[in-house]
């Protein structure tokens, strides 16, 4: 029994999630209407930026791998 996702699979998932999250956090207006889900926009944006940075780290590792070992 092993976890079915590899390092690059998780990188891909982070890329997709980071894009969705960054777009969502930017599109959230100060007035997002009366919804039952209450979200702190600042924290949402912070999480989006953090995930974006993680994705960039994955890109850097990939780039370093290509330059150094290929």
């Amino acid at each position: 029994m092993t976890f079915p996702l590899g390092f690059w699979d998780i990188g891909l998932w982070i890329a997709v999630t980071a894009i969705i999250l960054l777009a969502t956090s930017e599109l959230l207006a100060p007035y997002y209407g009366r919804t039952s889900l209450v979200i702190d926009r600042k924290r949402m944006r912070l999480a989006a930026l953090a995930l974006g940075i993680v994705f960039l780290i994955f890109v850097a590792i990939r780039a370093a791998g290509i330059i150094l070992f290929e």
Partner: protein
């Protein structure tokens, strides 16, 4: 004679019975009302619980489903389940993290604030002071975080001396009027706290650039804010202010307090008085027909 007496006795007995029945009915109705009140209170609490919890409930459900999906992905070695599990767990955790610490409906804040404003309105109304409130410059005050507005008895713009203001007196004799804490003092101090500056130490340009960002993005108080300066007047245009219902209520229901401005307009007046180091008055306050846009004009008085 005997017949009349017996008839009177019957009437009295009927009346007594009627009275007893009425009393019983009133008791029944009182019990019903009490039951209904209790039921209403139970329903109110139930509703409050539902209103309070949605984001946390959704978050926990997402985390639980995600965790299950991750476990099954390992058992069945399924990449699809692993992706689904990762996504659900992540979004659940994100919802928990991005949930505001404290969320209070604006109606609740409005209801709390209106009582204090009404009390102030009654006091000033009974005194019969008709002047326009003057927001004083911080230079005349002991503490830079403090603020006072002077409400003259007559429609004039004479300000009490610095000594009178610094003495902390409320009723002023020369010129006749009253020194009050403006309704927006707490809000103005909060703005300073959030911006980490003292308004008395910055200029109007700083206020023009930083205040809209603070009110729109950080505090979510308004949807848009514009600040225009022209000679001795400053015009502030606010769209979709969270304080708009309270402002409308103050204008509608109070006589004297409407001259002070609503808490947000008052906070702006304090910020301007601190920044420009000049006393000022709220010259005009206009609200659009749909109550979405408020334009307030402040006039700076000579120092």
């Amino acid at each position: 004679m005997t017949n009349e007496t017996s008839s009177d006795q019957e009437d009295a007995s009927d009346l007594q019975q009627l009275e007893d029945r009425s009393i019983d009915r009133i008791r029944e109705l009182t019990t019903d009302i009490n039951d209904l009140e209790q039921e209403k209170e139970k329903l109110r609490l139930k509703l409050l619980r539902y209103e309070r919890r949605p984001s946390s409930t959704v978050a926990y459900v997402l985390i639980l489903t995600g965790a299950c999906s991750l476990v099954f992905s390992v058992v069945w070695t399924s990449q699809i389940l692993a992706f689904i599990g990762l996504g659900l767990t992540f979004w659940g955790a994100l919802l928990l993290y991005a949930r505001p610490k404290k969320y209070v409906a604006s109606e609740l804040v409005d209801s709390t604030a209106i009582s204090a404003i009404r009390a102030l309105d009654q006091i000033v109304g009974n005194l019969g002071y008709v002047g326009t409130p003057i927001y004083l410059s911080p230079m005349t005050l002991k503490d830079i975080k403090d603020s006072r507005m002077f409400l003259p008895a007559k429609n004039e713009t004479t300000i009490p001396t610095g000594e009178t203001i610094a003495s902390g007196t409320i009723m002023v004799e020369q010129p006749e009027g009253i020194l009050l804490v403006p309704p927006g003092l707490g809000l103005a101090n909060l703005f300073e706290e959030k911006l980490r500056v003292r308004f008395a130490e910055v200029d109007l340009d700083y206020l023009k650039t930083r205040l809209p960002r603070l009110l729109i993005e950080d505090l979510d108080l308004v949807e848009d804010l514009e600040l225009h300066e022209e000679r001795d007047t400053v015009q502030i245009k606010m769209k979709e202010s969270s304080y708009a219902p309270l402002c409308s209520q103050i204008r509608r229901e109070t006589e004297a307090a409407r001259r002070f401005g609503c808490p947000l307009c008052s906070a702006m007046a304090i910020a301007l008085a601190r920044t420009t180091h000049r006393p000022l008055v709220i010259e005009q306050e206009e609200v659009s027909k749909d109550a979405k846009t408020t334009v307030t004009q402040y006039r700076m008085l000579p120092e």
